[in-house]
């Protein structure tokens, strides 16, 4: 057998447990060991990347879901860290009436991504020195990201992470969660009143002055400046800002 054919046959055995492929590889206990290694590594990876989902569902239900995911999603990345990227969407289809399950998965995944995202020194509040506020653009730390949830999965996640009794699922409290890293520690919270607008406008390159003007369209000028200042002050305190200028 040519090398490429052998390798495709091996893949068929690992992914599909194809008996013809097993026979072509010689069969015997060795082929079973590779099959077991393959599935064990992927199941273990999902368990590691989705610890809070596993705690919420319980071992049996989680393993059943993980096994179905492994069947449906052969890994494609060179790193196991990337395995399970679509597990949240998969769980959403598996548990269509339990929004908190997919939400918990989204939080687990986001925390993992933030944990290894690019480093940046956060701007300390006392180091803020801006000459031209009109043109000053707020740049968030590179770890910052947002996800939408439909439930109180954030409260459930925190309780599970602390190994405390989680609250009952409430599937009608949607939110946008902000994730970023304070030093080396991932953190997240629900986005507050003007967080998302100011983030979006800053990402578009708008300076602080134009952002105040945009807020003034709904808040009035005085309240807009106050709101924008409050948002920036909170972000600085929370180590969410890399630079202003």
């Amino acid at each position: 057998m040519k090398l490429a054919e052998l390798q495709h046959t091996f893949r068929d055995w690992l992914v599909e447990a194809d008996e013809t492929a097993e026979w072509r590889l010689g069969g015997g206990p060795g082929t079973a060991i590779y099959q077991n290694n393959y599935r064990t590594a992927l199941m273990g990876c999902l368990g590691e990347n989705y610890k809070r989902v596993a705690r919420w569902l319980g071992e049996e239900a989680f393993e059943a879901a993980a096994a179905r995911y492994v069947d449906a999603h052969p890994p494609t990345s060179w790193t196991l860290d990337a395995y399970g990227e679509r597990f949240g969407a998969f769980l959403n289809r598996l548990y269509p009436d339990d929004a908190e399950v997919a939400d918990l998965a989204a939080i687990d995944w986001a925390v993992g991504q933030v944990f290894v995202s690019a480093d940046a020194e956060a701007l300390r509040p006392e180091a803020l020195a801006v000459e031209d506020w009109d043109a000053a653009v707020i740049r968030a730390v590179p770890s910052l990201r947002q996800i939408a949830i439909a439930s109180n999965a954030d409260a459930i996640w925190r309780a599970l992470a602390a190994e405390e009794m989680p609250p009952a699922a409430n599937r009608d409290v949607p939110a946008i969660l902000l994730f970023w890293r304070q030093g080396l520690e991932p953190v997240f919270r629900r986005a507050a009143a003007h967080d998302l607008d100011v983030l979006a406008w800053s990402a578009q390159g708008l300076g602080f002055g134009p952002i105040c003007a945009r807020l003034a369209e709904t808040l009035g000028e005085e309240a807009a400046v106050s709101a924008a200042g409050t948002v920036l002050g909170q972000w600085l305190t929370e180590e969410m800002v890399a630079s202003v200028g």
């Binding site: 057998m1 040519k2 090398l3 490429a4 052998l6 390798q7 495709h8 091996f10 893949r11 690992l14 992914v15 590889l25 010689g26 015997g28 206990p29 060795g30 082929t31 060991i33 590779y34 290694n37 393959y38 590594a41 992927l42 990876c45 052969p74 890994p75 494609t76 990345s77 060179w78 790193t79 196991l80 860290d81 395995y83 933030v114 944990f115 290894v116 995202s117 690019a118 480093d119 590179p142 890293r181 080396l184």
Partner: protein, 281 residues
């Protein structure tokens, strides 16, 4: 571009595992070098890279990969090589290594070290892939003999394949003594004959580890102390090799650092005894 010869690690080391990070960051672990799994640190930033950077300040480092897949018939992944190059440039390891195996094909990655047939065709593929990797990194690499549970018909033995691979590609060898033992038991070849065929002048590092007896075959689990049979084979290998950097790989069921350190002392003793015996001879 011709890859330069690999730098040499010396002494006795351990795989740096999470349970012992503090000792490596503080520089109190009694080892001459450390080894980490490359892919765990091929990331943008955060605590893992911060830990590795601090440990690297205290110890020479070996980057040991598990996903290069030098036996893949469809070649190496450019995104993988680019990430590895970034890490190598950032952390400046003494040694960069991977395995004689394949892990993926056509975008599929098994995340396991899968066996190759030891054929001329496979040798051509492996050498072409090593050339690309070494050109990208601008340095020679070490490649490790795998443990295996299937053996395919081939034109040469594993040790003949390794020797020819190193001769053609300019890579060095990472000799895993436990893997030789496991494969010898599983496939019924003579481990001493294997050692007799290894070009020891090209061996830049030696791995030691433990295994378990499965229902039918030995399983390379890295979750047990190095067993007596592997120590005996190490004595034979280090007698042939001379002073070669040696380390213990313990990936699971990880004991206290003092326990691993005591185990590493046995490697030091065996190496010293082998060196004395060579001098006496």
């Amino acid at each position: 571009m011709t890859a330069t010869s690999p730098d040499r690690l010396t002494g006795f080391g351990l795989g740096m595992r999470r349970e012992h990070y503090r000792a490596y960051i503080e520089g109190t672990a009694p080892v001459d070098f450390i080894e980490v799994i490359s892919e765990n640190f091929m990331i943008d930033g955060g605590r893992p890279l911060d830990t590795l950077t601090k440990a690297r300040a205290n110890y020479p480092l070996a980057l040991h990969g598990v996903s290069m897949s030098i036996g893949s018939s469809d070649g190496l992944r450019g995104d993988y090589l680019a990430r590895l190059k970034t890490l190598v440039d950032r952390i400046e390891p003494t040694v960069v290594s991977d395995h004689l195996c394949w892990t993926g094909i056509d975008g599929f990655n098994s995340h396991d070290l899968l066996p190759l047939p030891y054929t001329e065709e496979a040798l051509d593929v492996v050498c072409a892939n090593i050339a690309r990797a070494q050109d990208t990194l601008g340095r020679a690499m070490l490649f490790e003999n795998p443990s295996s549970y299937i053996a395919f018909p081939g034109a040469m033995t594993e040790w003949e394949f390794l020797a020819e691979m190193a001769r053609r590609s300019g890579c060095g060898l990472l000799l895993d003594v436990n893997n030789i033992y496991v494969s010898a038991m599983n496939h019924g070849f003579d481990a001493e004959a294997y050692l007799a065929g290894v070009p020891f002048g090209l061996v830049g590092q030696i791995h030691l580890a433990g295994h378990v007896q499965g229902e039918h075959l030995l399983i390379d689990t890295h979750d047990q102390p190095v067993p007596a049979a592997v120590w005996a084979l190490y004595r034979s290998a280090i007698t042939r090799a001379g002073a070669v950097a040696t380390m213990i790989e313990r990936d699971d069921n990880i004991p206290e650092l003092a326990v691993l350190s005591a185990e590493l002392d046995l490697a030091r003793t065996i190496s010293a005894e082998a060196s004395a015996a060579r001098i006496a001879a």
